[in-house]
């Protein structure tokens, strides 16, 4: 029996992309293998580690817990889409670099996407809000302290230059997904 495939159309990092895949193709696998965007990492594939986190219409979601066909018609932002088109890093990326918010970097794409949305919604987070915001992302290297500092620093960088901070915002509002 040949498996049925579906036409999938996504806007990924501002570019319209199409692919054909069976319904069981995970969004994470479509991004990595179908579209060559290997910045999105895959660790546990059951929603626990957070390293596959991407933005779907601006909201962070686990790409390992979504079928690509379900995401069809929506906008996806991956870690490759966080920097400016000229390659200038986003404030969140700069803060992680400055504060050594990464070591091996495996968890980093998920943290960057999660924190980008966190600071868009909560530009001045309290310490508790930072902890709650990143509580669903695991890092086996840093011990989290530098990641916490990176979030704090990113918040300062965005406050100093709000225009530069413009992380990609979703077009769909509440309930639009």
């Amino acid at each position: 029996m040949t498996e049925e495939t579906f036409e999938i159309e996504l806007t990924v990092n501002g570019v319209r992309r199409t692919a054909r895949a069976p319904a069981r193709r995970l969004l994470s696998d479509l991004l990595r293998h179908g579209l060559g965007l290997t910045g999105t990492h895959v660790g546990c594939e059951h929603g626990v580690c957070g390293c596959c986190t991407v933005l779907l219409d601006g909201e962070p979601v686990r790409s390992c817990l979504m079928f690509a066909v379900t995401a069809s018609g929506h906008e996806v932002t991956t870690v490759e889409g966080l920097a400016a088109p000229d390659g200038e890093m986003s404030p969140v990326q700069r803060a992680f670099q400055e504060c050594h918010g990464l070591q091996c970097g495996f968890c980093t794409p998920g943290f960057l996407c999660t924190v980008t949305a966190l600071l868009r919604d909560t530009p001045r987070p309290t310490d508790d809000e930072i902890l709650e915001g990143i509580s669903g992302n695991l890092c086996r290297c840093t011990g989290y302290q530098n990641i916490r500092r990176s979030v704090r620093r990113a918040s300062e960088l965005i406050a100093a230059d709000p225009a530069s901070g413009g992380p990609p915002a979703g077009e769909a509002g509440e309930g639009g997904r």
């Binding site: 995970l26 059951h46 957070g50 986190t53 909201e59 962070p60 979504m66 379900t70 669903g136």
Partner: protein, 306 residues
């Protein structure tokens, strides 16, 4: 590819979804194949892990994410009705829902992590019927209900009859849970939700949701608690006899009678996370904490005239 193959339907309306779910239905789209019974895919935050680990192999998935009419959240004086596509995050953010039934938001703060709550649905969590999940215990404690629909018609299933066993809701093949209803909190009533988990955001070793209602003299008139992770289904205990008449303003005493009653009534199992004895101990401790917090909340609300 990790998940096993399945036939896939993505209906856009409720009638299409029900037709696609119906046992051995001919289907609604141009797609073919996939006899047998359809399984609902909502937020996928419980189902897709099971598929990725190949612990489930449904023949046909009916993805309801495009059925806009299920993406609803209605708040009235009577309570909160949550549609099948309302995500945890949306329900937890709703100030209107929290005003009418505060326990919903309190419990949702313990459900997984914010990113998982962006996709997972309240109704999906009920339909998954995990005895360690927060929302089934809340629905059971509040005597809420689930509205189910199939190609054959609609019915309302009271919470007391909805949870049949671990991961076993009272939904028939071909039935879709279209919404869940959480009744409003009565006057002079406070709520609390407490749990102990290995790590923040994990499923609880034991969790307790409580409601405490005061009389006009600010004495405890009724106290109830809903327990998770202590039995195969959510357990609801009426603790009124163990704390009736306690003076709420003085903190209501030590709640030891209620805690002892809870320890006696729970029936936890040992697993790799905790022994049955430890869970029983936690059930007692958390009963006291939940009642104390719910009583304090009831005093606050009574003071505000609610």
């Amino acid at each position: 590819m990790k998940p096993p193959p399945f036939a896939y339907r993505a209906p856009r309306t409720l009638p299409e979804a029900l037709a696609a779910l119906a046992p051995a239905a001919p289907g609604t789209g141009s797609d073919t194949g996939g006899g047998g019974v359809g399984k609902v895919l909502a937020g996928g935050q419980s189902l897709i892990p099971l598929l990725n680990m190949r612990l489930a192999a449904p023949e046909r998935l009916v993805d309801i994410n495009r059925v806009a009419e299920l993406d609803t959240l209605e708040v009235t004086g009577a309570g909160v009705r949550v549609g099948a596509l309302a995500r945890h995050a949306r329900v937890g953010r709703s100030a209107e829902a929290a005003a009418v039934q505060p326990l919903l938001r309190r419990a949702l703060a313990h459900v997984a992590h914010p990113v998982v709550r962006n996709r997972g649905t309240v109704v999906g969590s009920l339909a998954h019927a995990d005895p360690s999940a927060e929302l089934p215990a809340v629905l059971a404690l509040l005597d809420g209900s689930v509205e189910a629909a199939s190609a054959a018609g609609r019915r309302t299933i009271p919470a007391g009859g909805f949870f049949l066993g671990p991961l076993e809701p009272a939904l028939l093949p071909g039935e879709l849970a279209v919404s869940a209803f959480f009744p409003a909190l009565p006057p002079r009533t406070g709520t609390a939700f407490v749990e102990i988990a290995r790590r923040h955001g994990d499923y609880a070793l034991v969790g307790v949701a409580a409601t405490v209602t005061l009389d006009a003299g600010l004495r405890v008139a009724a106290a109830r608690a809903g327990y998770l992770s202590v039995a195969g289904v959510p357990l609801v205990l009426d603790l009124t006899a163990a704390c009736a008449g306690a003076d709420a303003v003085s903190g209501g005493g030590d709640w030891e009678d209620a805690a002892a009653y809870a320890r006696e009534r729970v029936d936890p199992e040992s697993d790799i996370h905790a022994s049955a004895d430890y869970r029983r101990h936690l059930a007692g401790v958390l009963t006291g904490r939940a009642l104390r917090a719910a009583t304090a909340d009831a005093i606050d609300r009574a003071g505000e005239g609610r």
